[in-house]
Symmetry: C2
């Protein structure tokens, strides 16, 4: 019997061609424009240098908040958070009156492109740096069929057939288990991707790294250059294997500190408590996650829950704070940034390029910050690279988003 693969897969209202060539999408966490260019200038990235010339080198806009999870979920679903529901790592459940962590796949409201490709008969693979992201991105994959593999560097040693479609990953990749806070955690993702492409030969593969290095080190620094030199080696290997390769980032990254190296923080809960009284507002920082060492839960996006009769006064006051770039009601934020209304506070606040938003000084553990803070979350971290090892044809008038990356890789490559 002849098995037939459909010509395209449609999910969340968008259609993607089923590829004849293995197609690899990489999300380089926190890869602010400039990192790759500075490393190329020093001759450290010969493969990327060649690809930028012979393929495609352009830019795209991320989702706001420019955080990891909202953007990774947008990439894997091809749609903004209004569709997939993941607007950050945390939201406040008004009915249950508690802060809820959105790192469980039940919070995801849309099917993923990978799961839909698997259903349509394609082989798919995914490797993430952190395991929590793997659980979100891996929703809907069926590991019983032998056509899907998904695991994280962080828990590579625990990967098993039932939950990951693969076992003995450390031997498979040929690296030891990396530390959670390390450049190795991302390198493991790339090494695993090369190995999967050689052996499992997925039709569609997604690789997603962690921004440990980018939080620590600016473009052109020795640490950053070393990371991109390593990355370039794997880019060369992937490219040499004949795949369509498209790279983007979940968000950019900027210095967020004073000249003396201290983080430049607007402690929003303190300010609002001082003005309106304790307990009148609740500031949620959706960047907060269990791995705060490299950013201290400080980013450029916050959302404030407040009773309706006080909202305008709170908005008006927030607008007077130096370093606040955007302070808008939830309705406007949901429209402008395509966010899910039930998972965002009543006011949305974005800080300027070099400032971050905190709750109160006592609540932020900054002991893990060994370097001056670099972070993200705002409009100034919305521009990210979109690099392909083929020429692409973007329809006239269209503004690329990072969550168009599967569309670019499957539909727009020449």
């Amino acid at each position: 019997m002849l098995t037939r693969t459909p010509a395209s897969v449609t999910t969340n209202g968008r259609s993607y061609r089923v590829p004849n060539t293995p197609t690899v999408v990489i999300c380089i966490d926190g890869s602010e424009p400039g990192y790759i260019e500075r490393a190329i200038e020093k001759g450290l990235c010969p493969n990327l240098e060649r690809i930028l010339k012979t393929g495609t080198n352009t830019l795209a806009l991320s989702v706001i908040p420019s955080f990891t999870n909202p953007n990774n979920l947008s990439i894997i679903t091809g749609r903004p958070p209004a569709v997939h529901g993941i607007a950050g790592n945390f939201f406040y459940d008004r009915e249950a009156k508690q802060e809820v962590m959105m790192n469980d796949a039940r919070f995801l409201r849309a099917p993923t492109i990978l799961a839909e490709f698997q259903k349509a008969g394609s082989k798919v693979a995914m490797v993430t740096a952190k395991d929590k992201l793997r659980t979100l991105l891996g929703k809907g994959l069926d590991f019983q069929k032998g056509t899907a593999i998904a695991f994280s560097s962080e828990k590579a040693d625990k990967a098993n057939m039932a939950e990951n479609g693969i076992e003995n990953v450390l031997e498979f990749v040929g690296m030891k288990l990396p530390e959670v806070y390390s450049a190795d955690l991302s390198e493991f993702v790339f090494a695993a991707g090369v190995k999967l492409l050689k052996t499992f030969r997925p039709d569609v593969m997604y690789l997603s790294t962690t921004d440990y290095v980018q939080h620590k080190a600016a473009p052109g620094s020795a640490i950053a250059d070393s990371f991109y030199k390593m990355f370039d080696r794997y880019v060369g290997e992937l490219d040499a294997l004949g795949c369509v390769l498209v790279m983007t980032a979940d968000h950019g990254m900027n210095d967020k500190h004073l000249a003396n190296g201290e983080p430049d923080v607007i402690y929003l809960q303190e300010i609002l408590d001082g003005k309106f009284g304790a307990g009148m507002t609740r500031v949620i920082l959706p960047i907060t996650d269990p791995y705060v060492a490299h950013h201290g839960a400080l980013g450029s996006f916050a959302t404030v829950y407040v009773d309706n009769d006080k909202r305008q006064a709170v908005l008006d006051h927030i607008k007077t704070i130096a370093g606040v770039e955007v302070a808008i009601p939830a309705e406007e934020a949901c429209k402008r940034f395509e966010l899910p209304a039930d998972r965002i506070g009543d006011v949305v606040v974005l800080s300027s390029k070099h400032k971050v938003l905190g709750t109160s000084a006592a609540k932020h553990d900054l002991s893990g910050l060994t370097e001056p803070l670099r972070s993200h979350g705002g409009l100034t971290e919305q521009t990210v690279p979109m690099i392909a090892n083929r020429k692409i044809v973007v329809p006239a008038g269209r503004t690329l988003r990072n969550f168009d990356v599967f569309d670019v890789a499957l539909n727009l490559v020449a």
Copy 2:
């Protein structure tokens, strides 16, 4: 003989349906989100209130620089400045060694949607507030055929058949010639639009106002509310005439002043002269035009011309200036903002929400600033309304730009 109109018109790589219903696009200059909403809350805009509920109320992104001419030309061509060539009001001609004002139609590199519709057999009309914009937007219209009318409020008294396709405009509109610096200059545009729709019955019409009011007055202020109340009356008339009506803005508008009311200016030429010596760099402010009274040529976008061997040092220094949000080399700016490489300096600089970029204090005539400065040009003025009196269907995954407004009006309306 049966004359046949083609089903669609293609220009600059985009296709537009030829409408069965008269289609009106309005660009409300400087209409930052919030102006309309604040006026609606006070009950001043019953027509817009109804349209926002029964039609479409969403947001779109403008072109950067968020200035009037680049955005109006993007709207009328459907493409970014990289395609149409108008990146501001001024550029520096390196060969001729002189600053060149780009307000002449010869600088426009792309055909306009209106001219292409006329060529395809449609009747078209356009009214602008200022006459210089009319000369740019009106390029390619043929006034000999009786199927095109284009004039400005500013020179309505001088309109003639040869250059405008209409004469005796003051009597036609029933208003006296407005002052250049006035809300009346925009009201004249709306009144003319209603009259044209009733009598000339264009298939496609473009109305573009001036931001005199928005530069002076914030959303919710008495002056702004009064403007939008006036606007709403004409919106009601246009809507009642049965047209498809879509409204957007060329850019937003924000306060750009200190608490004491003084403009908050980064005098970039002064800073660069102090650091690198006079004559080493040339700061161009593309907002500069002959009508500076309401902004003093102060906006949030500047471009710097500098010899290549000094460019990195200049970039590095500009990045250290407080209030600079973006400082990037021209190549990156042209890619990110889709700008024409030959009409932009070597470095592009954007300031933060409440700051503007100047050359040197002595060169800015601020005597016309009777109110604390409000201006635009940066990323914080990129978000603008996109309002239609019909439901629209936006393809999944697409981010609307203000220069999609003709696509919205002609192709996406339900």
